[in-house]
């Protein structure tokens, strides 16, 4: 049964320095507030797993929380570069960032394998690309039935998986809908999981296309209204596209970035 906790308590009790932490939400239901709490509590040396490390990973990297990033697309969607991510890779600021880079299909299958209790997943992909050459978690495998050469990707089993969802009930059953991405697999592959939700309600009413994660599959649930802002939560609020555009300027300059974090994350509770 999932425990209902505060965000602060959830991050403090479930995360440790040096952990592998998945922060999922494929372009929707991004766990921004949880990322900010990780920054506030000053975690270090984390391996962050996220298909689309957008603004939240840029902020975690720029604040020196991340030593390794496992990812498949590292940009500011529709805007351009992630400047803190680039600065870490190109210039080692604020510290060197190790990467294990994949395609979406590949990292997706790493989560699927992790969720399935298997050491790897089999897929068609990567062949002929540089990714195959550089990633230590991609390897060729021969089909035992046909002899065909395919690709294996290693399972990922994060110490903690964090997602954001629309709602949970008081028992900790979680419900999410809209673009549901890789969130279910992220929770199921995690050794522990923390789900932040827009609201905790008495009863979960069915919603078209919803994914329900029963309470016994989730470690902890925290009520965090607006937990995906400035991204969005379908049915609750829209994506603040203007902020994504503004982030390009804020993040380009180190001092301006640090001042923004000081003002908006460290001093606040957002």
């Amino acid at each position: 049964m999932a425990e209902i906790v505060s965000l602060q308590e959830g991050i403090r009790t479930l995360l440790n320095n040096g952990d592998t932490v998945a922060l999922e939400g494929f372009t929707h239901l991004i766990p921004m507030a949880a990322g900010h709490e990780i920054i506030r509590q000053g975690f270090k040396n984390l391996t962050v797993v996220r298909l689309t490390p957008d603004l939240i990973c840029d902020q975690l990297i720029g604040m020196g929380c991340v030593s390794k990033l496992v990812f498949s697309w590292g940009g500011n969607p529709g805007v351009g570069s992630l400047h803190r991510f680039r600065d870490a890779i190109e210039n080692g600021w604020p510290s060197k960032l190790e990467i294990d880079e994949h395609s979406h299909a590949g990292l997706t299958n790493r989560f699927v394998a992790g969720a399935s209790g298997l050491p790897f997943a089999v897929m068609r992909g990567y062949k002929g690309t540089g990714l195959e050459k550089y990633s230590p978690t991609v390897a060729p495998i021969t089909c035992p039935f046909t002899g065909e050469e395919l690709v294996a990707v290693a399972a990922v089993n994060p110490d903690l998986s964090v997602i954001h969802a629309q709602r949970a009930d008081r028992k900790g059953n979680v419900q999410l809908w809209g673009i549901t991405g890789i969130q279910k697999e992220a929770v199921l592959s995690g050794k522990k999981s923390l789900v932040t939700v827009e609201e905790i309600v008495d009863e979960l009413k069915p919603h078209p296309g919803d994914v329900v994660l029963p309470s016994w599959l989730v470690t902890a649930v925290a009520e965090v209204p607006g937990g995906s802002k400035p991204s969005y939560a379908a049915g609750y609020y829209q994506r603040d596209n203007d902020f994504y555009i503004a982030w390009d300027e804020i993040s380009r300059d180190k001092d301006r970035f640090l001042a923004w974090i000081e003002q908006n994350v460290l001093k606040g509770d957002g």
Binding site: F26, T108, V112, I182, E185, R239
Partner: protein, 254 residues
């Protein structure tokens, strides 16, 4: 007298790309230039184009151009929204998608694409966003359409990193690598159109847009010794209807 319509090279590129999509096709779309061209096609000659974005939105019908592949409107207007494992494993991997529509930072003469780094991988001069869905889109779709602006920086002899395979080092490579999709059939740029030679798979300039000099494309805009087709066509200029449609496309967040 025929009225001379004014248009930009980017408008010509998007319109030329939109014309390549056929009504009724199922198209896996990258954000940016491909998304604009596909949305244009859907407003013109291909109202039944099924647009798929990698966020799992199948048959999205956005009223404005999405800023991100995860924009809420894509999900709200979709025929179905599926999970990310489902879109890559069940829909893309078995070869169910007609057309993959990709952009990139760089391309080489065999239509291999780079969207990962400029410079050395471990110590890059410029770190780009990376692969996203592109490697498997390029591998598995029945057909691949590529669009990017043409210059000696983007059309290079050697790309530093192969993010997505076109034809590898030549005609035999896709089969050797086990890539089951057909590979790129066309590259649309702001200057013209390139197509792979049927035998060698090396890209050949087969079409230039109006008022573009072939010599300029070859000498000043391509980083390798670009072959030119014996009979080169000139793109039909944009029609009034096409220009009105592209100018009525509004972008989210802009």
């Amino acid at each position: 007298m025929v009225e001379q319509l004014q248009y930009t090279s980017d408008e010509m590129m998007s319109i030329a790309a939109a014309r390549q999509l056929k009504d009724g096709q199922v198209c896996f779309i990258g954000i940016g230039l491909p998304s604009k061209a596909a949305n244009l096609a859907r407003r013109l000659h291909a109202p039944n184009l099924t647009m798929i974005y990698e966020s799992g939105t199948l048959g999205a019908k956005p009223t404005v151009l999405p800023l991100s592949i995860g924009d809420g409107e894509l999900a709200e207007t979709a025929d179905a929204v599926v999970s990310v494992p489902e879109i890559f494993n069940y829909l893309l991997q078995p070869g169910r998608i007609d057309v993959g529509f990709l952009g990139a930072a760089q391309i080489d003469k065999f239509a291999n694409l780079n969207s990962t780094v400029i410079g050395d991988y471990k110590t890059p001069k410029v770190r780009l966003p990376g692969a996203g869905g592109a490697p498997e889109i390029a591998g598995a779709c029945k057909d691949v359409i590529i669009m990017l602006r043409q210059s000696t920086k983007s059309f290079v002899d050697q790309i530093p990193f192969i993010t997505s395979v076109g034809y590898g080092s030549g005609a035999q490579d896709r089969a050797k690598l086990g890539l089951r999709g057909g590979g790129p059939s066309i590259v649309i740029t702001d200057l013209g159109i390139l197509e792979p030679d049927p035998f060698t798979k090396e890209l050949v300039l087969t079409q230039v847009h109006p008022n573009v000099e072939i010599a300029t494309v070859v000498k000043n805009k391509t980083g390798w010794d670009l072959r030119v087709a014996e009979e080169i066509k000139v793109t039909e200029p944009p029609s009034k209807e096409e220009l009105e449609a592209i100018r009525s496309l509004k972008s989210a967040g802009k």
